[in-house]
Amino acid sequence: MKRHLVSAADLSRDDALLILDTAEELAQLSGRAVKKLPTLRGRTVVNLFFEDSTRTKTSFEVAEKRLSADVINFAAKGSSVSKGESLKDTALTLQAMGADAVVIRHHASGAPARLAQSDWLHGSVINAGDGTHEHPTQALLDAFTMRRHLNPGLGKDLNGRRITIVGDVLHSRVARSNVLLLNTLGAQVTFVAPPTLLPIGIDNWPCEVSYDLDATLAKSDALMLLRVQRERMNAAFFPTEREYSRRYGMDGLRMARLPEHAIVMHPGPMVRGMEITAEVADSPRCTAVEQVANGVSIRMAVLYLLLGGATLADNHSTNTSEAAK
C-alpha cells in the first residue's frame, strides 16, 4: 500500500481486499469485552478537522483508541484560512509534535493531496473527506457493508454486483470515492440524479448515468442514497423539495420494486422526508446504522495497515521490531 490514503484511486484491488479482510477480522474485536489492541501503542495520530463532522471524527477516534494510539484532536475550526497559511502552519506544528498519521477533514478539495505531496509533514495522510472531492474510508465502509450482504467472505469482491447511487453526485465526495473503489472491486455503478446534480464529464467516468430512478430499481443489488443539501434548492439545482422527493426520493413503493436481496444504504445524516421516508429508513433493508459500525472497523484496518504492519498475522513481530527501534 502507498503511504497515504488520499483517494480511492490509491488502492489496488489487492489493497482494497486486504483492508476489507483486515476490517472483517478487527470487527470481531467489537464483540469482545476488552475492545483494545496494542498495535499502535506509542504512535501518535492526529485528527485534523477543518470542518465539523461529529460522525466521521468520532468513528476515527474510536478506531484509533481501540488500536491504543495516542490521539490528538486538533480542531482547526475558527482558525483563519483566508490567507492560506493555516494548513501549512498547522502541518508544521503537527510535524514538530511527531505525528505519525494525520486524519484530515477539509472543506477544500485537494487539501489532503496537498498535505501528502508537500514537505510540510512526514507522517501518513488519511483523507477523511475533502470538499467535493473524495472520502475514501467512507467508500471502503460502504464496500464492506455491501460485501457482507451481497457476497460475504474473506477474499471476496463485488464482481458483477450492480450498485445504484442516487442524489447529489455533483457535490458528493462519497460518490467520487465510491465509483473508483466499486470499479476496482468489479461492481457496476449507476448514478441517478437530475442533470444539474451530475458533474460535467461524467460520461467518461466508469459508470452508467440515468435521470430516472424508477428505471434502475429492478436491477439494483444495492441502492445508495446521497445526502441532498437543502441550500442546493436555492441555487436552482432543482425546483422544490417536493419535486426532488417525487422524482428521486426513496419511499416504500420504490423499495418494494428492488430485488428481494437488495439493500438500501445511506452515508448519513439522513434527511427524512425529502430523500428517504421513515418507512425506508427504519426498515431492516436500510443499512445506515450498520454502516456506522462498519466505519470503525474499516478505519481501524486503514490505520493498522498504514502504520502498523502488513497483515494481522505478522502483527506481533512487526510491533516488537517497531518498538525496538
Binding site: 501549512k88 477544500a108 478539495s109 487539501a111 467516468w205
Partner: protein, 434 residues
Amino acid sequence: MSSYLIRNAQILGGPAQDILIVDGLIEQIGTGLTADADVDIDAHGLIALPGLVDLHTHLREPGREDAETVLTGTQAAAKGGYTAVHAMANTFPVADTAGVVEQVWRLGQEAGYCDVQPVGAVTVGLEGKKLAELGAMHDSAANVRVFSDDGKCVDDAVIMRRALEYVKAFDGVVAQHAQEPRLTEGAQMNEGQVSGELGLGGWPAVAEEAIIARDVLLAAHVGSRLHVCHVSTAGSVEIIRWAKAKGWDVTAEVTPHHLLLTDELVRSYDPVYKVNPPLRTAEDVHALRSALADGTIDAVATDHAPHPAEDKDCEWAVAAMGMVGLETALSVVQQAMVDTGLLTWEGVADRMSHRPARIGRLAGHGRPVSVGEPANLVLFDPAYRGTVNPDSFATRSRNTPYKGLDLPGRVHATFLRGVATVLAGELVEPGELV
C-alpha cells in the same frame, strides 16, 4: 550615448547580418561592417527581433511591492526581451486616476529597463459601476490608451458600451477580462472532465465566450476598438474569427501558458497551475495555437502575475491566481509555436512586438529592424537548452509553472533605445555602459 556593433545576427531569422547601433538608433545594417563601436557583440546563431511589447503585465506597484515592483518587474521584462510593457491597473490604490498612472509611468522611467505604459482602469476602483476619468488618464503624462478592469470583468453591458464609446475620443481601446461572474461563482479551474473528477468548482468556457460574444457586438454597434484579454477557449477563438470576418475592430491576445499547458496539470492540486482564466483542455490549446498562427489572435501577452510564496504555498482553494511569465515567454512561444512549425520568427516579431505595439498605440515600439529606426531590439539564442531555475529570475516572485522544466532558447541581449539592458543573459546596471 554608446554604440554597439552586433555581428552576424539573423534578423527575424533571416541570413546573418551586422547591425550598428549609434545614439539610440539603428545606423547601419549590412555584412562585414567595420565600425569603432564601444561594444562588439558576436551574435553568431542569434536571432534579432524587435524589442518585445507586452500588452498585459502586472507590476503590483503601488500596493503589493512584496510581490513585485516596477523596478523588479521591468528587470524581468528586459531579461525576457521586452522593451515595453503595459502595466495593469489592479494595484492598491487602483490605477483609476491621472495621479496613479503618472506615478507608475514615472517609476518606469526612473528604473530605465523597459518602457512602462500604464493601463487605466475602466471603472472607479474596478468596481464596474462608474466610469473612471478615462480622459484625464489619457491627458496625463502617462498618455494612457489602453483601459482595462483586468482581474475583473466589466459585466454591466451599459457600462461596457459607454466605455467603448467614450474612449473613441482619444483613440483608446478597452481591454476586457471576459468572465461572466455568475457562471464562475466559486470557480477554481476549467469546468470539464478534470474538474468533475477533482471536485473543484468549474469555470465553464461559455462564461468567457458569452462575454466576448456580447462585447464584439457592442463594439461593432458603437464602432469602437475592443481588445480581448487572455483568450483561453476554442469557442472564444471562433467568435473573434467571426467578428474579424465582419470587419470589426476587434483584437485579442493569448498568454504563453495557455499555448502550452492544460488542465490535466491541476490533478496535482499544485497551486502553481492556478490561473485566471484557467488552464483549459488540449483541444483549446490546439485552437489557440492555430488562431495565433493565422492571426485571428493578434498578440502574445504574458499576464505576468507575480505572487509571494505564501500566497501559493498553501492549499488550492485559497491560493492566489496567476503565474509569472515575462522571463519565459519567448521560450514558451518558441516551444509551442516555432519548434512546432506554426510560426516563423517573422511571425513571432509580428505577434510579440509589431501588433501589440499597434494595439497599444506605442509609437516608438514594434518598429521594423531597419536603418533609422529606434534600436529597440532583442537577440535570442534559439539553440540554447536549459532548465528553468526560478532562483535566477529577476522578478520578485517565483510562481512559475516551468520550474525544473527544459524550455528552449534564451534571451542573450536586450536593447532599449540603443542601450543594452541585458547582455549575455544578465541584466546590465543602468549607466554601466551609457
